[in-house]
Structures are given as structure tokens and as C-alpha cells.
Amino acid sequence: MKAPVYFDYAATTPVDPRVAQKMSECLMTEGNFGNPASRSHKFGWEAEEAVELARKQVADLLNCDPREIVWTSGATESDNLAIKGIAQFYKGKGKHLITSKIEHKAVLDTCRHLERDGYEVTYLEPGEDGLITPQQVADAIREDTTLVSVMHVNNEIGVINDIAGIGEVCRAAKVFYHVDAAQSAGKIPVDLEALKVDLMSLSAHKMYGPKGVGVLYVRRKPRVRLEAQMHGGGHERGMRSGTLATHQLVGMGECCRIAQLEMATEAARTLALRERLRQGFDDMEEVYVNGDLNAHVPGIINISFNYVEGESLIMSLPEIALSSGSACTSASLEPSYVLRALGMNDELAHSSLRFSVGRFTTEEDVDGAIEQVRHAVEKLRELSPLWDMYKDGVDLDSIEWAAH
């Protein structure tokens, strides 16, 4: 069987060959394999130099100081370090945090953990457009609030929050602002010189770098202090101990360099592909795009095909690799918490697919996907009693369903 075409770039991306090349130069005897923390010989110095270059490449992408970059194992660790680190360090000031209902689980589960430790968390509800407004944040801030964590781009629907506006609100209230930027960094401009963001999480594997490496941006002015979560040799100015993985960091640096260099052309190309895909379903009945398309990253689109259940739809698309907005495939039978938080009814949430395109997607890939999805939806609607009822003009809300 030929490999399916990849439409899941929001889950992870393949490593760019240019990145893999740089990484492979940091592994073997003849390469740059030294421990960056070794101060007594050339191997260590050269490794340190490579790590510092990579740090600068990340900092350049975000327009910040390299000294504000802390290496981690990925965005999940960065989210944990930012949220627990701030909450614990500033617990004398208060134990209240603010986040949104549609954050990544790395943020939500960290907040849940803190709740068990006696912290209080406010979970903001997005509007139907999927966005959290600065006003909502302003209204939720209290005397004892220490941190706001609201993501830049949502991973399921691709909408872009106004992090500039939320940052202003937080700075004025003297509350730290953390942003999970795993889905936005490298895809759309992020300027930390201009933004009033205090902490930002990034992951390399969402932007054609390797898995297992990310960064936490920690602002120097005004200074942000953290309680470390990983203790050891005091690496990364004491914020995150552990020997630096030279090849991983070099990979992340290189993928940031490429992202910065090619962002404008890549964003335009990706947007064109996404629009081609969306328009491919334009003339179909009962197809809905989720989230505000006016505030959207280029690569992600979430579409509901009403009266068709998402898991069976994916099952009839063996030649396309994508994910269901509904989490059925991950063995939980609940529809997506993100789509539900938008106020969408459960049937539509059960009927959604997330397509994400990227650097190696072609027009032919998109055209093939459109054809296959259309065919599968038609076939499943033929099988669907709900589609029958819709066609017969029956109002599904008028029926008393026996929930099970």
C-alpha cells in the first residue's frame, strides 16, 4: 500500500533536510559531539558555540535577546515550566491564574495540577469565532492573579488570538502573560520587542525541526523569575538543568533560521493550498468551516461535514493522514472540547476534520484529498439516517433522542 498523503502538519512536521544535515554534524566522533558545558577543551567550546548560535537563531525569529531563551524538551515542558514556575515563585502575591478552555492539554492539565495544590484557575470561554478577547481577560483579573496563559494559535481550529491586546491588559495590571506559541512561531510573525508577552513556549517539531526540543522565552525586562522544575547542574541560568542536546538545539536553530527566511513566501503558498482545499467543498450542502477565517493561520482548517460522523469519515479515507476534530480516534468518545467550547452542537463537533497543510504539500495532494473526501462524505451520507431526515425536512432538534 502506498503511503497516505500527509495532512496533519499541525500534529507534527517532517524534519527539513537542511535541518537534518546540520543535526547530523553534531553526533559522531568527527562531528561536534562535545558537551556544551565542558569548559576545559575544544570539544566543549565548539559545542557551546553551536548551541549559542542556535539560541541566537531562535531569538532572531522572535525578535528578542538570546539570553531570554531557555532550552527545554518541547512546548509541553515549556508550558509546565512557565505556569508552575510563575505560580510557585509568586505564590506570596496570590494563587489565582487565568487561562482559556481551548488551550492545549499541556496548559490545561498543568492548571488542573495546580488546582489540586490549592491554586484557583479561571477558564475563559471563547466566542463562537474561537477567540478570547483582551476585555475578557481584563474582566477576569483579580488582586491575587499572578499569571494569564492564553495561546497564540489554537491547534484544532487555527484561529489567532490578539496576544498584543491581551499583553497590554496584563502589563497594565502587573500580571505575567504566558503564550503557548507552538502553532504560530515560524508560521506568522512574532515580535517580542513589540509584544507585552512575558513568557512564550515553542516547539521545534511544529516547524520542520526535530521532536524533543523546544524553548521557553523568559523576559528580562521587566524581569520574570521562575521556580525551576528540573534541578541539577544549574544549566540555563538555573531555570532548566540538564546537559544540552547539541544536535537537537542546532536543529531547532536551523529550522527557525529557515522559517524566518522563508516565512512570507511559505505563508502565501500554504494559504493558497488551504484555500484551494476549502473551496473544493464550497458547493456541498451542510459543510461548515469552524473558527473565524479572518483571524487564522495559513496552514490549518477545521471543517464539519454535517450528518457524517468523523471517525467513520477518517476510516473511509485511508489514503489521507489527518485527524478528527472529535477525539474518538484517541479512544475517548467525547467530541472535541475545543469545538464544544465554541458553543457548537455535539453532532457538528462529531462531524469535523482538521486538515493541516505545510511545506511539502502540493496542489495535486490537495486535489486528491478533495475528491476522496467528497466521495466518502457522499457515501456516508447515503448510510446516514440523519441525512435522510434532513433531506425529508425533519428538524433533528424536535426529536427526543435517548442519550446513551
Binding site: 467513520s312 468518545l333 446516514s384 439516517p385 433533528l396
Partner: protein, 129 residues
């Protein structure tokens, strides 16, 4: 998640897809599940004067296992008496399709569907007398 060959077979070639006129006295209709839960099955049986199910049709909104469970059920009920059909157990369906634990509810729904269809037919019959 990998699907069993039996599920894939019924999913790719569903048997007896369709709809009978639910006003017809010979037809019993069972619709179970809810859109909000991600599964709705509509199972219909056509019963002859001897009380034997001579035909069955279904339509299902749901995952592959739900579609396969209802497709299998339409094959199984044909030729059975009403009592016999109402005794089909979800465990038999789950076993035949090799459903994983997380999909057992699909077979339960199928059992509910045949019971509801038989009941609907019997109600119609009683109303005629």
C-alpha cells in the same frame, strides 16, 4: 486503532442499506442512539403473516464499528421469528466483529435497535386488532 477484518468488510460493503416506508403495517422501525453521542441507528424489519422477518434494512450515523454492527444485524435477523430476533445479544455481535472494549457500546446499540424494531412492529399489530 486497527479495525478487524470483519468490521472492515461490513464497513466497506454494508449489507441491506436503505429504508422501508415506516407507515407500512408490515414494517417495524427501531431508531436508537443520539446525534450528540455520535451514534444513531435506524433498523427496520419487514415481517410476513407467519411472524417471520423476511427482510431488513438499516442506516447508521456513527463510527465504523456502529455501521458494521447494524449491517451484521440485518443479515442475522432475516428468516428469524420476532421472538428469536429479539433475543440476539450484543455479546454475540461484539464477538463476531471482534470489537475492542471501547467499541462494545456499538453492539449494545445494535441490540437495542432490534428490540425497538420488534416492539414497534408488535405495537402496530396490536393497534390493528
Amino acid at each position: 486503532m486497527a479495525y478487524s477484518d470483519q468490521v472492515m468488510d461490513h464497513y466497506q460493503n454494508p449489507r441491506n442499506v436503505g429504508k422501508f416506508d415506516d407507515q407500512d403495517d408490515q414494517i417495524g422501525t427501531g431508531m436508537v442512539g443520539a446525534p450528540a453521542c455520535g451514534d444513531v441507528m435506524r433498523l427496520q424489519i419487514k415481517v410476513n403473516d407467519e411472524g417471520i422477518i423476511e427482510d431488513a434494512k438499516f442506516k447508521t450515523y456513527g463510527c465504523g464499528s456502529a455501521i458494521a454492527s447494524s449491517s451484521l444485524l440485518t443479515e442475522w435477523v432475516k428468516g428469524r421469528t420476532l421472538d428469536d430476533a429479539a433475543q440476539i445479544k450484543n455479546t454475540e455481535i461484539a464477538e463476531e466483529l471482534a470489537l475492542p472494549p471501547v467499541k462494545i457500546h456499538c453492539s449494545v446499540l445494535a441490540e437495542d435497535a432490534i428490540k425497538a424494531a420488534v416492539e414497534d412492529y408488535r405495537k402496530k399489530l396490536a393497534a390493528q386488532v
